[in-house]
């Protein structure tokens, strides 16, 4: 940025050109340019500081205890985030576990095996899947998926794996499992699209070498191509996880919204984002409000960490090529 002070903008090749003097338009343009950059910085810093400032009451009163207390009681003004953190981590984690297999296989198919036309069409549909608004996912999850879970998927899982604590108890329609399934559906397109692009970027000679050694198409994909993009897929998973952790409306509609930690996936849960969505406008005291904003702060920090890790992994992969 020091180039501007010296009287010219540096272009991306490092050349500095002197700004023509007296040119109002040019001057206004560079003022707008740097003004916008400054504004952009201000928004990001402001976002963090506002959330930090907004949660000062809760931070001061509960400190780190906020993270592991299970008490969430507006009447007694006791606030602890553990049930929500648990719900968020478990629902997103299961969603990722479900989505990663399907997503990676679908991406591999699109890049390696599908005929061109078919690959194009399927890609278009999958991209559209990513564009469906989350409230629509929530609506579909609530009225279509939830009944299926409570009357088909749930009983089937209970019959087959009922000895596991995660599949015991009463089967509700709106529960952790439904939320995980909806989240999985929402993050699959991310994983598929990135996997497809990563696999397609591997040069053909790598495959040819493997095929020439007598490996089959699948062996080539599984043992040669996929290991090359492993860290990229890991990065894609991180990005998908970040999306699932912060997803609000769809989860709020299908998770059941009960602030309790239950081992069973068939029981209702609650997530950090949903509790903010549900209770924010009803928060009556400043401490209550502050606790909810602190939940937002947690969400902000966690999503930055997860996404930062994901982007770093993707970049590491891209660089050597």
């Amino acid at each position: 940025m020091s180039g501007a002070a010296a009287g010219g903008l540096e272009d991306r090749f490092g050349h500095t050109r002197v700004r023509p003097r007296g040119r109002l338009a040019a001057w206004l343009f560079s003022v707008a340019l740097y003004g916008s950059c400054f504004l952009f910085f201000a928004v990001i810093v402001g976002l963090f500081l506002e959330l930090l400032w907004g949660s000062r009451l809760s931070l001061g009163k509960f400190g780190l205890r906020f993270l592991w207390s299970t008490q969430w009681n507006p009447v007694t003004q006791q606030f602890g985030a553990l049930p929500f953190l648990y719900g968020t981590v478990v629902s997103s984690g299961i969603a990722l576990l479900l989505a990663v297999w399907v997503g990676v296989l679908a991406g591999v198919y699109l890049a390696e095996f599908a005929p061109r036309q078919l690959s194009f069409m399927l890609s278009l549909l999958i991209e559209l899947l990513a564009a469906v608004p989350s409230v629509v996912y929530g609506l579909w999850g609530l009225f279509v998926l939830a009944p299926i879970v409570s009357s088909w998927i749930g009983p089937a899982l209970q019959a087959a794996f009922g000895f596991l604590p995660i599949f015991q108890g009463t089967i509700y329609g709106v529960n952790m499992l439904t939320a995980s399934l909806i989240l999985a559906l929402m993050i699959v397109p991310t994983i598929t699209a990135i996997t497809r692009d990563l696999v397609a970027a591997i040069p053909p000679r790598v495959r040819e070498a493997s095929l020439a050694l007598g490996a089959s198409r699948w062996e080539t994909t599984y043992k040669v191509v996929l290991p090359l993009v492993r860290s990229g897929i890991f990065g894609a998973c991180m990005l998908a996880l970040g999306r699932a952790l912060g997803e609000t409306i769809a989860t709020t509609m299908v998770i059941g919204n009960r602030p309790a930690i239950s081992a069973s996936l068939f029981a209702p849960g609650y997530t950090v984002a949903s509790v903010i969505a549900n209770e924010f406008t009803e928060a009556t005291t400043n401490l209550y409000l502050s606790a909810l904003i602190e939940l937002g702060l947690i969400l902000f920090v966690v999503s930055i960490l997860v996404n930062g890790a994901g982007r770093l992994l993707l970049q590491l992969l891209v660089r050597p090529q």
């Binding site: 050109r17 591999v108 564009a131 608004p133 629509v136 397109p189 493997s210 609000t248 903010i276 924010f280």
Partner: protein, 287 residues
């Protein structure tokens, strides 16, 4: 290759190959099929409740027919419109900085920050808009929702603008410089004109990104039962109405939620098609 697979019989390897390729194909078809399933459901459930009065009327209490989401549609357009007016100039200018002048550590950190901002959950951005624009004024407003949307749109506009500018051939810039154009002229008269389709595509994609975004609206725009055109007041919004109707216990409202979802999907699809058309234009400009 591991010795184990070399030890397997050719027939078994062949079958494994076919099986896994089939599984991969099924996965892709399943993912795409789910979309068709969801779309089909929305059309089936929504088309019945969709009518002219649904688009032109305001919501009515349960039991009174012909309630609509007209105010929500107008609200959506107003909120997103103001958001675009805020996000587009700033985002495009930052994108121009990164695409034309962006090098070195400052630009790299701005790119990183833009990615970071893109990944912040929308509800956290809603909280930001609340503490900044709702709390000090003691009432909800459409403007605060627009602000939240603008923050959501900005990273997308930045990265697509930057991408569109970076895609331009270096010769374009060099010839402009060789003709004696000043720095400002090169950027504004030459590069920006050539990159315009790409930049517009970015704007449309950003619009599509916030269409149907609900979470930040809960405590910014808040919703309204009436026609509202003043951005400093609480305002209805389509996706917010869908949410409210969906979690209500009334069947009549559920139907309206499906019809609203159908409208929302149509809007998102229209924006997607528009973005593709705008993107096509670039190809013709380049040739």
């Amino acid at each position: 290759m591991s010795p184990s697979s070399l030890g397997a019989t050719p027939r078994r390897r062949h079958l494994t190959d076919i099986a896994w390729r089939a599984i991969a194909g099924l996965s892709a078809v399943a993912v795409a099929g789910t979309l068709l399933l969801i779309l089909g459901y929305i059309v089936r459930e929504g088309i019945g409740a969709l009518s002219l009065s649904f688009i032109t009327n305001t919501p009515r209490p349960i039991g009174i027919p012909d309630g609509g989401v007209g105010n929500g549609i107008i609200g959506t357009i107003i909120i997103i419109g103001i958001a675009a007016l805020m996000a587009f100039p700033v985002g495009a200018l930052v994108g121009i900085y990164l695409g034309v002048y962006g090098h070195g550590r400052t630009a790299a950190s701005m790119r990183f920050l833009s990615d970071v901002l893109a990944s912040v959950p929308s509800i956290a951005i809603g909280l930001f808009a609340y503490t900044l624009l709702v709390q000090p004024f003691h009432h909800f407003s459409a403007f605060s929702a627009s602000f939240a949307f603008a923050v959501l749109m900005m990273p997308l506009v930045i990265r697509t603008t930057e991408g569109a500018l970076r895609l331009l051939p270096a010769a374009l810039r060099e010839s402009a410089v060789a003709l004696g154009a000043s720095d400002y002229q090169v950027t504004a008269r030459c590069l920006l004109v050539a990159a315009r389709p790409g930049i517009i595509t970015g704007l449309i994609l950003a619009l599509a990104r916030v269409t149907g975004e609900t979470a930040p609206l809960l405590f910014t725009a808040f919703g309204s039962q009436f026609w509202e055109f003043n951005p400093s007041n609480p305002m209805a919004e389509l996706s917010l109405q869908i949410f409210t109707y969906a979690i209500s216990p009334y069947r009549e409202w559920h139907q309206q939620a499906w019809a609203g979802a159908l409208l929302l999907i149509l809007a998102v699809c229209a924006l997607g098609i528009l973005a593709r058309v705008a993107f096509r234009q670039r190809a013709t400009v380049e040739t």
